[in-house]
Protein backbone atom coordinates (compact mmCIF):
# COMPACT_ATOMS: atom_id res chain seq x y z
CA UNK A 1 0.00 0.00 0.00
CA UNK A 2 1.51 3.33 -0.99
CA UNK A 3 1.74 6.20 1.40
CA UNK A 4 -0.96 8.14 -0.46
CA UNK A 5 -3.43 5.34 0.03
CA UNK A 6 -3.22 5.23 3.80
CA UNK A 7 -5.42 8.29 4.13
CA UNK A 8 -8.10 6.98 1.83
CA UNK A 9 -11.52 7.83 3.21
CA UNK A 10 -14.27 5.21 3.65
CA UNK A 11 -16.48 7.15 1.21
CA UNK A 12 -13.79 6.72 -1.43
CA UNK A 13 -13.54 2.97 -0.85
CA UNK A 14 -17.31 2.64 -1.02
CA UNK A 15 -17.58 4.77 -4.15
CA UNK A 16 -14.87 2.71 -5.85
CA UNK A 17 -16.66 -0.51 -4.92
CA UNK A 18 -19.84 0.91 -6.40
CA UNK A 19 -18.06 1.91 -9.60
CA UNK A 20 -16.89 -1.69 -9.89
CA UNK A 21 -20.50 -2.88 -9.79
CA UNK A 22 -21.39 -0.47 -12.61
CA UNK A 23 -18.83 -1.70 -15.14
CA UNK A 24 -20.28 -1.88 -18.62
CA UNK A 25 -23.55 -0.18 -17.66
CA UNK A 26 -24.75 2.23 -20.37
CA UNK A 27 -27.03 4.28 -18.14
CA UNK A 28 -27.06 4.65 -14.37
CA UNK A 29 -29.54 6.75 -12.40
CA UNK A 30 -28.89 8.00 -8.88
CA UNK A 31 -31.71 9.02 -6.57
CA UNK A 32 -31.73 12.24 -4.63
CA UNK A 33 -29.58 12.75 -1.56
CA UNK A 34 -27.26 9.87 -2.47
CA UNK A 35 -23.77 11.38 -2.56
CA UNK A 36 -21.72 8.17 -2.29
CA UNK A 37 -23.67 6.34 -5.02
CA UNK A 38 -23.41 9.56 -7.04
CA UNK A 39 -19.63 9.57 -6.55
CA UNK A 40 -19.42 5.91 -7.56
CA UNK A 41 -21.55 6.49 -10.64
CA UNK A 42 -19.55 9.51 -11.75
CA UNK A 43 -16.36 7.51 -11.24
CA UNK A 44 -17.79 4.81 -13.52
CA UNK A 45 -18.59 7.54 -16.02
CA UNK A 46 -15.05 8.92 -15.96
CA UNK A 47 -13.47 5.47 -16.17
CA UNK A 48 -15.63 4.52 -19.16
CA UNK A 49 -14.73 7.69 -21.01
CA UNK A 50 -18.37 8.74 -20.91
CA UNK A 51 -19.72 5.37 -22.05
CA UNK A 52 -21.59 4.98 -18.77
CA UNK A 53 -24.18 7.76 -18.75
CA UNK A 54 -25.16 9.04 -15.29
CA UNK A 55 -28.43 10.74 -14.40
CA UNK A 56 -28.56 12.27 -10.94
CA UNK A 57 -32.22 12.85 -10.12
CA UNK A 58 -33.15 16.35 -9.08
CA UNK A 59 -30.12 17.79 -10.82
CA UNK A 60 -30.83 19.64 -14.05
CA UNK A 61 -27.26 19.28 -15.27
CA UNK A 62 -27.20 15.51 -15.23
CA UNK A 63 -30.75 14.63 -16.24
CA UNK A 64 -32.29 14.99 -19.65
CA UNK A 65 -36.03 14.39 -19.28
CA UNK A 66 -38.37 16.28 -21.61
CA UNK A 67 -41.46 14.19 -20.99
CA UNK A 68 -42.24 14.85 -17.35
CA UNK A 69 -41.43 12.88 -14.26
CA UNK A 70 -42.57 9.58 -15.71
CA UNK A 71 -39.75 9.54 -18.26
CA UNK A 72 -37.24 7.92 -15.89
CA UNK A 73 -39.67 5.09 -15.21
CA UNK A 74 -40.66 4.82 -18.86
CA UNK A 75 -37.09 4.42 -20.04
CA UNK A 76 -36.47 1.95 -17.24
CA UNK A 77 -39.52 0.00 -18.42
CA UNK A 78 -37.96 -0.04 -21.88
CA UNK A 79 -34.74 -1.54 -20.53
CA UNK A 80 -32.85 1.71 -20.98
CA UNK A 81 -31.73 1.99 -17.36
CA UNK A 82 -29.06 -0.52 -16.42
CA UNK A 83 -28.43 0.39 -12.81
CA UNK A 84 -30.13 2.20 -9.95
CA UNK A 85 -29.57 2.67 -6.22
CA UNK A 86 -32.05 1.95 -3.49
CA UNK A 87 -31.83 2.44 0.24
CA UNK A 88 -34.37 1.61 2.93
CA UNK A 89 -35.34 2.31 6.49
CA UNK A 90 -35.23 -1.47 6.79
CA UNK A 91 -33.67 -4.06 4.47
CA UNK A 92 -34.09 -7.73 5.25
CA UNK A 93 -32.27 -10.93 4.39
CA UNK A 94 -34.50 -11.50 1.37
CA UNK A 95 -33.54 -8.05 0.04
CA UNK A 96 -37.03 -6.77 0.77
CA UNK A 97 -36.96 -3.02 1.22
CA UNK A 98 -39.11 -0.95 3.58
CA UNK A 99 -39.36 2.79 2.95
CA UNK A 100 -42.71 3.31 4.67
CA UNK A 101 -42.29 2.89 8.41
CA UNK A 102 -41.99 0.80 11.53
CA UNK A 103 -45.01 -0.86 13.08
CA UNK A 104 -48.18 -2.61 11.98
CA UNK A 105 -49.18 -0.84 8.78
CA UNK A 106 -51.14 1.39 8.44
CA UNK A 107 -50.38 2.25 12.06
CA UNK A 108 -46.84 3.52 12.38
CA UNK A 109 -44.49 3.86 15.31
CA UNK A 110 -42.17 5.63 12.90
CA UNK A 111 -43.32 6.94 9.54
CA UNK A 112 -40.76 7.39 6.77
CA UNK A 113 -41.29 9.34 3.63
CA UNK A 114 -42.64 6.61 1.36
CA UNK A 115 -41.82 4.07 -1.29
CA UNK A 116 -40.93 6.43 -4.18
CA UNK A 117 -40.19 4.43 -7.33
CA UNK A 118 -38.90 1.32 -5.56
CA UNK A 119 -41.86 -1.01 -6.20
CA UNK A 120 -41.29 -0.62 -9.92
CA UNK A 121 -37.60 0.04 -10.52
CA UNK A 122 -36.66 -2.96 -8.38
CA UNK A 123 -38.43 -5.15 -10.95
CA UNK A 124 -37.17 -3.65 -14.19
CA UNK A 125 -33.64 -2.36 -13.57
CA UNK A 126 -31.11 -5.19 -14.08
CA UNK A 127 -28.62 -3.98 -11.48
CA UNK A 128 -30.16 -2.48 -8.38
CA UNK A 129 -27.52 -1.64 -5.81
CA UNK A 130 -28.81 -1.45 -2.25
CA UNK A 131 -26.97 0.87 0.10
CA UNK A 132 -27.43 1.55 3.76
CA UNK A 133 -24.50 3.14 5.55
CA UNK A 134 -25.87 2.49 9.02
CA UNK A 135 -25.15 -1.23 9.35
CA UNK A 136 -27.09 -2.23 12.48
CA UNK A 137 -29.72 -4.70 13.55
CA UNK A 138 -32.19 -1.79 13.46
CA UNK A 139 -31.70 -1.27 9.72
CA UNK A 140 -30.67 -4.74 8.49
CA UNK A 141 -33.51 -6.82 9.89
CA UNK A 142 -34.70 -10.36 9.60
CA UNK A 143 -38.06 -9.35 8.12
CA UNK A 144 -39.14 -5.85 7.12
CA UNK A 145 -42.35 -4.46 8.68
CA UNK A 146 -43.62 -3.34 5.28
CA UNK A 147 -42.53 -4.51 1.84
CA UNK A 148 -42.19 -1.40 -0.30
CA UNK A 149 -40.46 -3.57 -2.86
CA UNK A 150 -39.82 -7.30 -2.68
CA UNK A 151 -36.31 -8.66 -3.19
CA UNK A 152 -37.47 -11.62 -5.24
CA UNK A 153 -40.65 -12.64 -7.06
CA UNK A 154 -42.66 -15.75 -7.72
CA UNK A 155 -41.79 -17.63 -10.90
CA UNK A 156 -43.82 -16.17 -13.79
CA UNK A 157 -43.70 -12.60 -12.55
CA UNK A 158 -41.98 -10.46 -15.19
CA UNK A 159 -38.77 -9.42 -13.48
CA UNK A 160 -35.75 -8.61 -15.60
CA UNK A 161 -34.39 -6.58 -12.70
CA UNK A 162 -33.57 -6.86 -9.04
CA UNK A 163 -30.89 -6.45 -6.40
CA UNK A 164 -27.32 -7.41 -7.15
CA UNK A 165 -25.54 -6.13 -4.05
CA UNK A 166 -25.86 -4.37 -0.71
CA UNK A 167 -23.17 -2.00 0.46
CA UNK A 168 -22.90 -0.63 4.00
CA UNK A 169 -20.32 1.13 6.09
CA UNK A 170 -18.95 -2.31 7.07
CA UNK A 171 -19.05 -4.52 4.03
CA UNK A 172 -20.29 -5.46 0.60
CA UNK A 173 -22.82 -8.28 0.08
CA UNK A 174 -23.72 -9.98 -3.20
CA UNK A 175 -27.35 -10.93 -3.63
CA UNK A 176 -28.03 -14.45 -4.91
CA UNK A 177 -31.30 -14.16 -6.81
CA UNK A 178 -32.06 -17.87 -7.07
CA UNK A 179 -31.46 -18.52 -3.41
CA UNK A 180 -32.98 -15.19 -2.38
CA UNK A 181 -30.15 -14.62 0.10
CA UNK A 182 -27.21 -12.31 0.59
CA UNK A 183 -23.64 -13.58 0.50
CA UNK A 184 -20.88 -11.56 2.07
CA UNK A 185 -18.42 -10.52 -0.62
CA UNK A 186 -15.88 -8.31 1.09
CA UNK A 187 -15.20 -6.57 4.39
CA UNK A 188 -14.18 -2.95 4.31
CA UNK A 189 -10.63 -2.39 5.59
CA UNK A 190 -10.41 -2.94 9.34
CA UNK A 191 -13.83 -4.62 9.66
CA UNK A 192 -14.15 -8.18 11.02
CA UNK A 193 -16.65 -10.89 10.13
CA UNK A 194 -17.70 -10.94 13.76
CA UNK A 195 -18.54 -7.26 13.65
CA UNK A 196 -20.70 -7.79 10.57
CA UNK A 197 -22.47 -10.78 12.16
CA UNK A 198 -23.12 -8.85 15.36
CA UNK A 199 -24.67 -5.96 13.51
CA UNK A 200 -26.73 -7.83 10.94
CA UNK A 201 -30.29 -8.87 11.79
CA UNK A 202 -30.48 -11.45 9.02
CA UNK A 203 -28.64 -14.64 8.23
CA UNK A 204 -26.31 -14.55 5.22
CA UNK A 205 -23.97 -16.85 3.31
CA UNK A 206 -20.19 -16.74 3.25
CA UNK A 207 -18.04 -16.86 0.16
CA UNK A 208 -15.30 -19.42 -0.36
CA UNK A 209 -12.73 -16.71 0.07
CA UNK A 210 -13.61 -13.66 2.11
CA UNK A 211 -11.87 -10.65 0.62
CA UNK A 212 -11.19 -7.12 1.75
CA UNK A 213 -12.97 -4.39 -0.17
CA UNK A 214 -10.19 -2.98 -2.34
CA UNK A 215 -8.68 0.36 -1.53
CA UNK A 216 -8.73 2.41 -4.74
CA UNK A 217 -5.41 2.60 -6.57
CA UNK A 218 -3.66 5.87 -7.28
CA UNK A 219 -5.25 6.35 -10.71
CA UNK A 220 -8.71 5.78 -9.32
CA UNK A 221 -8.05 8.09 -6.39
CA UNK A 222 -6.90 10.85 -8.66
CA UNK A 223 -10.08 10.46 -10.73
CA UNK A 224 -12.20 10.54 -7.57
CA UNK A 225 -10.44 13.53 -6.09
CA UNK A 226 -10.18 15.35 -9.40
CA UNK A 227 -12.96 15.39 -11.99
CA UNK A 228 -15.44 13.33 -9.94
CA UNK A 229 -15.10 15.53 -6.85
CA UNK A 230 -15.56 18.67 -8.93
CA UNK A 231 -18.74 17.30 -10.51
CA UNK A 232 -20.17 15.96 -7.27
CA UNK A 233 -19.63 19.36 -5.67
CA UNK A 234 -22.17 20.88 -8.05
CA UNK A 235 -24.83 18.44 -6.84
CA UNK A 236 -23.84 17.74 -3.22
CA UNK A 237 -21.86 20.77 -2.03
CA UNK A 238 -21.94 19.86 1.66
CA UNK A 239 -20.70 16.33 1.00
CA UNK A 240 -17.97 17.54 -1.35
CA UNK A 241 -16.73 20.03 1.23
CA UNK A 242 -16.65 17.38 3.97
CA UNK A 243 -15.08 14.55 2.00
CA UNK A 244 -12.98 16.28 -0.62
CA UNK A 245 -12.57 19.69 0.92
CA UNK A 246 -13.70 21.42 -2.25
CA UNK A 247 -16.36 23.99 -3.08
CA UNK A 248 -18.71 23.99 -6.08
CA UNK A 249 -17.58 26.04 -9.07
CA UNK A 250 -19.19 29.48 -9.14
CA UNK A 251 -22.56 29.13 -10.89
Amino acid sequence: MSAGETDVRPEEIQAAAIAGLLEGARHVAVGMVSPIPGTGALLANERSGGGTRVSILGSKKTTFWTNGGSELFDLAGRGRLDAFFLSGGQIDGGANVNLVGVGDYPEAKVRWSGSFGSAYLYFVVPRVILFRWEHTRRTLVEKVDFVSAPGTSEPGVHRPGGPIALITNLCLFDFQREAGRFRLKSLHPGVTLEEVRDNTGFDFDLPEHLAETPTPDADTLSLIRGPVARRIADVYPVFARQVFGIEPAAA
Partner: protein
Protein backbone atom coordinates in the same frame (compact mmCIF):
# COMPACT_ATOMS: atom_id res chain seq x y z
CA UNK B 1 -64.85 27.01 -21.45
CA UNK B 2 -63.57 30.57 -21.13
CA UNK B 3 -60.70 31.01 -18.68
CA UNK B 4 -61.61 33.22 -15.74
CA UNK B 5 -58.97 35.77 -14.95
CA UNK B 6 -59.23 36.32 -11.22
CA UNK B 7 -57.66 38.91 -9.00
CA UNK B 8 -55.55 36.75 -6.71
CA UNK B 9 -54.85 33.38 -5.14
CA UNK B 10 -57.72 33.85 -2.68
CA UNK B 11 -60.26 34.16 -5.49
CA UNK B 12 -58.90 30.98 -7.07
CA UNK B 13 -58.91 29.08 -3.80
CA UNK B 14 -62.51 30.14 -3.27
CA UNK B 15 -63.45 27.79 -6.12
CA UNK B 16 -62.17 24.73 -4.23
CA UNK B 17 -64.86 22.99 -2.18
CA UNK B 18 -64.30 20.95 0.97
CA UNK B 19 -64.12 17.25 0.13
CA UNK B 20 -62.42 17.82 -3.22
CA UNK B 21 -59.72 15.52 -4.54
CA UNK B 22 -56.76 17.79 -5.21
CA UNK B 23 -53.82 17.08 -7.48
CA UNK B 24 -50.42 18.69 -6.87
CA UNK B 25 -47.05 17.98 -8.47
CA UNK B 26 -43.88 17.06 -6.65
CA UNK B 27 -42.49 20.56 -6.57
CA UNK B 28 -39.16 19.79 -8.23
CA UNK B 29 -39.72 22.79 -10.46
CA UNK B 30 -41.06 26.18 -9.45
CA UNK B 31 -44.72 25.23 -9.34
CA UNK B 32 -45.77 24.83 -5.69
CA UNK B 33 -49.20 26.50 -5.23
CA UNK B 34 -48.43 27.71 -1.72
CA UNK B 35 -50.50 30.89 -1.90
CA UNK B 36 -53.61 28.96 -2.90
CA UNK B 37 -52.91 26.34 -0.24
CA UNK B 38 -52.63 28.99 2.48
CA UNK B 39 -55.96 30.45 1.31
CA UNK B 40 -57.54 27.02 1.77
CA UNK B 41 -56.20 27.05 5.32
CA UNK B 42 -57.66 30.53 5.89
CA UNK B 43 -61.03 29.41 4.59
CA UNK B 44 -60.95 26.34 6.85
CA UNK B 45 -61.58 23.92 4.00
CA UNK B 46 -61.80 20.30 5.20
CA UNK B 47 -61.80 16.70 4.00
CA UNK B 48 -59.48 17.24 1.06
CA UNK B 49 -58.09 14.14 -0.58
CA UNK B 50 -54.62 15.07 -1.79
CA UNK B 51 -52.99 13.21 -4.64
CA UNK B 52 -49.31 14.01 -5.02
CA UNK B 53 -47.86 13.56 -8.52
CA UNK B 54 -46.15 11.46 -7.43
CA UNK B 55 -44.59 12.86 -4.21
CA UNK B 56 -44.29 15.99 -2.12
CA UNK B 57 -40.71 15.43 -1.09
CA UNK B 58 -39.02 18.70 -1.96
CA UNK B 59 -38.70 21.34 0.72
CA UNK B 60 -41.48 23.64 -0.52
CA UNK B 61 -43.91 20.93 -1.61
CA UNK B 62 -43.40 18.94 1.56
CA UNK B 63 -43.98 22.09 3.58
CA UNK B 64 -47.19 22.91 1.72
CA UNK B 65 -48.57 19.43 2.26
CA UNK B 66 -47.50 19.53 5.90
CA UNK B 67 -49.32 22.81 6.48
CA UNK B 68 -52.54 21.56 4.87
CA UNK B 69 -52.38 18.39 6.98
CA UNK B 70 -51.50 20.24 10.17
CA UNK B 71 -54.31 22.75 9.66
CA UNK B 72 -56.85 19.92 9.43
CA UNK B 73 -57.74 20.49 5.78
CA UNK B 74 -56.85 16.98 4.66
CA UNK B 75 -58.69 13.68 4.95
CA UNK B 76 -56.28 11.53 2.94
CA UNK B 77 -53.00 11.71 1.06
CA UNK B 78 -52.20 9.43 -1.85
CA UNK B 79 -48.46 9.62 -2.27
CA UNK B 80 -45.19 7.90 -3.03
CA UNK B 81 -43.24 10.15 -0.70
CA UNK B 82 -43.62 13.07 1.68
CA UNK B 83 -40.67 14.88 3.20
CA UNK B 84 -38.67 18.08 3.12
CA UNK B 85 -35.94 16.20 1.20
CA UNK B 86 -32.51 16.77 2.74
CA UNK B 87 -34.01 18.97 5.45
CA UNK B 88 -35.81 16.04 7.02
CA UNK B 89 -39.26 14.62 7.70
CA UNK B 90 -42.53 16.53 7.39
CA UNK B 91 -43.46 17.13 11.04
CA UNK B 92 -47.27 17.52 11.02
CA UNK B 93 -47.65 14.79 8.41
CA UNK B 94 -45.61 12.36 10.54
CA UNK B 95 -47.55 13.32 13.65
CA UNK B 96 -50.91 12.84 11.92
CA UNK B 97 -49.92 9.39 10.64
CA UNK B 98 -48.77 8.33 14.10
CA UNK B 99 -51.95 9.71 15.64
CA UNK B 100 -54.03 7.85 13.07
CA UNK B 101 -55.86 11.03 12.04
CA UNK B 102 -54.68 10.98 8.45
CA UNK B 103 -55.27 8.25 5.90
CA UNK B 104 -52.21 7.62 3.76
CA UNK B 105 -52.72 5.77 0.52
CA UNK B 106 -49.20 4.56 -0.16
CA UNK B 107 -48.20 4.44 -3.81
CA UNK B 108 -45.08 4.20 -5.96
CA UNK B 109 -44.09 6.96 -8.38
CA UNK B 110 -44.54 5.19 -11.73
CA UNK B 111 -47.94 3.86 -10.64
CA UNK B 112 -49.13 7.39 -9.89
CA UNK B 113 -47.88 8.59 -13.25
CA UNK B 114 -49.42 5.68 -15.15
CA UNK B 115 -52.77 6.05 -13.39
CA UNK B 116 -52.75 9.80 -13.98
CA UNK B 117 -51.91 9.31 -17.64
CA UNK B 118 -54.84 6.92 -17.93
CA UNK B 119 -56.97 9.58 -16.25
CA UNK B 120 -55.72 12.20 -18.70
CA UNK B 121 -56.91 9.97 -21.54
CA UNK B 122 -60.28 9.30 -19.92
CA UNK B 123 -59.54 5.58 -19.68
CA UNK B 124 -60.70 3.44 -16.75
CA UNK B 125 -57.34 1.86 -15.85
CA UNK B 126 -53.91 0.99 -17.16
CA UNK B 127 -51.30 -1.73 -16.82
CA UNK B 128 -47.94 -1.48 -15.07
CA UNK B 129 -45.07 -3.90 -14.54
CA UNK B 130 -43.67 -4.38 -11.06
CA UNK B 131 -45.76 -3.91 -7.88
CA UNK B 132 -46.69 -7.59 -7.52
CA UNK B 133 -45.73 -8.93 -4.12
CA UNK B 134 -45.32 -5.53 -2.52
CA UNK B 135 -47.34 -4.53 0.52
CA UNK B 136 -48.44 -1.47 -1.45
CA UNK B 137 -50.41 -3.78 -3.71
CA UNK B 138 -51.80 -5.62 -0.70
CA UNK B 139 -53.37 -2.41 0.63
CA UNK B 140 -54.79 -0.93 -2.57
CA UNK B 141 -58.29 -1.86 -3.69
CA UNK B 142 -57.81 0.31 -6.78
CA UNK B 143 -54.95 -1.91 -7.96
CA UNK B 144 -55.50 -5.47 -9.13
CA UNK B 145 -53.51 -8.28 -10.73
CA UNK B 146 -54.87 -9.88 -13.90
CA UNK B 147 -53.56 -12.35 -16.44
CA UNK B 148 -51.96 -10.79 -19.51
CA UNK B 149 -54.33 -11.89 -22.29
CA UNK B 150 -51.49 -11.84 -24.84
CA UNK B 151 -48.91 -13.90 -22.95
CA UNK B 152 -49.18 -17.18 -21.04
CA UNK B 153 -48.45 -17.14 -17.29
CA UNK B 154 -47.85 -13.43 -17.07
CA UNK B 155 -49.58 -11.68 -14.18
CA UNK B 156 -49.76 -7.89 -14.64
CA UNK B 157 -50.96 -5.15 -12.29
CA UNK B 158 -53.84 -2.93 -13.37
CA UNK B 159 -54.24 0.51 -11.80
CA UNK B 160 -57.47 2.45 -11.66
CA UNK B 161 -57.13 5.85 -13.35
CA UNK B 162 -56.62 9.03 -11.32
CA UNK B 163 -58.84 12.03 -12.07
CA UNK B 164 -58.49 14.83 -9.51
CA UNK B 165 -61.42 17.20 -9.06
CA UNK B 166 -59.05 20.13 -8.93
CA UNK B 167 -55.44 20.73 -9.85
CA UNK B 168 -53.53 23.61 -8.27
CA UNK B 169 -50.16 24.89 -9.47
CA UNK B 170 -47.98 27.91 -10.05
CA UNK B 171 -46.44 28.53 -13.50
CA UNK B 172 -43.95 30.95 -15.03
CA UNK B 173 -46.34 32.72 -17.40
CA UNK B 174 -49.68 32.88 -19.12
CA UNK B 175 -51.19 35.08 -21.82
CA UNK B 176 -54.46 37.02 -21.69
CA UNK B 177 -56.23 34.18 -23.49
CA UNK B 178 -55.47 31.90 -20.55
CA UNK B 179 -52.80 29.77 -22.24
CA UNK B 180 -50.20 28.75 -19.66
CA UNK B 181 -46.51 28.14 -20.46
CA UNK B 182 -44.93 25.38 -18.38
CA UNK B 183 -41.48 24.80 -19.90
CA UNK B 184 -40.21 21.27 -19.27
CA UNK B 185 -42.69 20.76 -16.41
CA UNK B 186 -44.78 18.32 -18.46
CA UNK B 187 -46.51 16.79 -15.42
CA UNK B 188 -48.58 19.96 -15.15
CA UNK B 189 -50.05 19.32 -18.58
CA UNK B 190 -50.92 15.73 -17.74
CA UNK B 191 -52.54 16.88 -14.50
CA UNK B 192 -54.59 19.54 -16.28
CA UNK B 193 -55.81 16.98 -18.82
CA UNK B 194 -56.76 14.56 -16.04
CA UNK B 195 -58.47 17.05 -13.73
CA UNK B 196 -61.94 18.50 -13.87
CA UNK B 197 -60.79 21.96 -12.75
CA UNK B 198 -57.38 23.57 -13.13
CA UNK B 199 -56.51 26.65 -11.08
CA UNK B 200 -53.23 28.43 -11.78
CA UNK B 201 -51.24 31.28 -10.29
CA UNK B 202 -48.63 32.68 -12.65
CA UNK B 203 -45.55 34.74 -12.15
CA UNK B 204 -46.58 37.07 -14.96
CA UNK B 205 -49.11 37.62 -17.72
CA UNK B 206 -47.58 38.33 -21.10
CA UNK B 207 -49.00 40.09 -24.15
CA UNK B 208 -49.78 38.20 -27.33
CA UNK B 209 -50.83 34.60 -27.88
CA UNK B 210 -48.48 31.90 -26.58
CA UNK B 211 -50.06 29.39 -28.93
CA UNK B 212 -48.95 31.41 -31.94
CA UNK B 213 -45.27 31.37 -30.99
CA UNK B 214 -43.84 28.21 -32.54
CA UNK B 215 -41.01 27.95 -30.01
CA UNK B 216 -43.24 28.47 -26.95
CA UNK B 217 -46.41 26.66 -28.07
CA UNK B 218 -45.02 23.12 -27.56
CA UNK B 219 -44.78 23.82 -23.81
CA UNK B 220 -48.21 25.43 -23.42
CA UNK B 221 -51.30 24.13 -21.65
CA UNK B 222 -54.00 25.47 -23.99
CA UNK B 223 -56.64 27.64 -22.31
CA UNK B 224 -59.20 24.90 -23.02
CA UNK B 225 -57.91 23.07 -19.92
CA UNK B 226 -57.56 26.07 -17.62
CA UNK B 227 -60.51 26.93 -15.40
CA UNK B 228 -59.16 30.11 -13.83
CA UNK B 229 -55.87 31.86 -13.28
CA UNK B 230 -54.45 34.88 -11.50
CA UNK B 231 -51.26 36.85 -11.88
CA UNK B 232 -49.62 36.36 -8.49
CA UNK B 233 -45.85 36.78 -8.47
CA UNK B 234 -44.25 34.83 -5.64
CA UNK B 235 -47.34 32.65 -5.07
CA UNK B 236 -44.96 29.68 -5.03
CA UNK B 237 -43.16 30.90 -1.89
CA UNK B 238 -40.90 29.52 -0.37
CA UNK B 239 -39.93 28.70 -3.93
CA UNK B 240 -38.61 31.73 -5.73
CA UNK B 241 -38.94 32.78 -9.33
CA UNK B 242 -35.21 32.20 -9.93
CA UNK B 243 -35.69 28.46 -9.31
CA UNK B 244 -34.25 28.39 -5.81
CA UNK B 245 -36.10 27.76 -2.54
CA UNK B 246 -35.86 29.87 0.59
CA UNK B 247 -34.59 27.00 2.75
CA UNK B 248 -34.35 29.22 5.82
CA UNK B 249 -38.10 29.75 5.63
CA UNK B 250 -38.61 25.98 5.39
CA UNK B 251 -36.27 25.36 8.32
CA UNK B 252 -38.07 27.96 10.40
CA UNK B 253 -41.37 26.30 9.58
CA UNK B 254 -40.05 22.83 10.43
CA UNK B 255 -38.65 24.04 13.69
CA UNK B 256 -41.97 25.64 14.67
CA UNK B 257 -44.06 22.69 13.46
CA UNK B 258 -42.23 20.16 15.63
CA UNK B 259 -45.09 20.69 18.09
CA UNK B 260 -48.78 21.32 17.58
CA UNK B 261 -48.49 24.59 19.55
CA UNK B 262 -45.53 25.73 17.51
CA UNK B 263 -47.44 24.96 14.33
CA UNK B 264 -50.47 26.97 15.53
CA UNK B 265 -48.18 29.89 16.32
CA UNK B 266 -46.62 29.63 12.87
CA UNK B 267 -50.07 29.65 11.28
CA UNK B 268 -51.12 32.63 13.36
CA UNK B 269 -48.06 34.56 12.31
CA UNK B 270 -47.77 33.51 8.68
CA UNK B 271 -51.28 32.74 7.55
CA UNK B 272 -53.93 34.37 9.69
CA UNK B 273 -52.05 37.52 10.60
CA UNK B 274 -50.83 38.41 7.13
CA UNK B 275 -52.42 41.67 6.05
CA UNK B 276 -53.34 40.31 2.62
CA UNK B 277 -55.40 37.68 4.38
CA UNK B 278 -57.92 40.26 5.48
CA UNK B 279 -61.12 39.77 3.56
Amino acid sequence: MTVQHLADAASLAALVPSGARIGVTKGEQTDVPMAMALELVRRGVTDLDLVTIPTCAFPASGMMLDILVGAGCVRSVETSGVSMSELGAAPRFSAAVKAGTLKVVDATCPAVYAALQAGAKGQPFTALRGLIGSDLMAHRDDWAVVANPFEADDPVALLKAINPDVTLFHAPMADRHGNVWIGRNRDLLTLAHASDMTLVTVERIVDGDLMEDETLAPAVIPNFYVTALAEAPGACWPQQADGTTDLDAVRAYMSAARTEEGFRDWLAAHVFARPEAAE
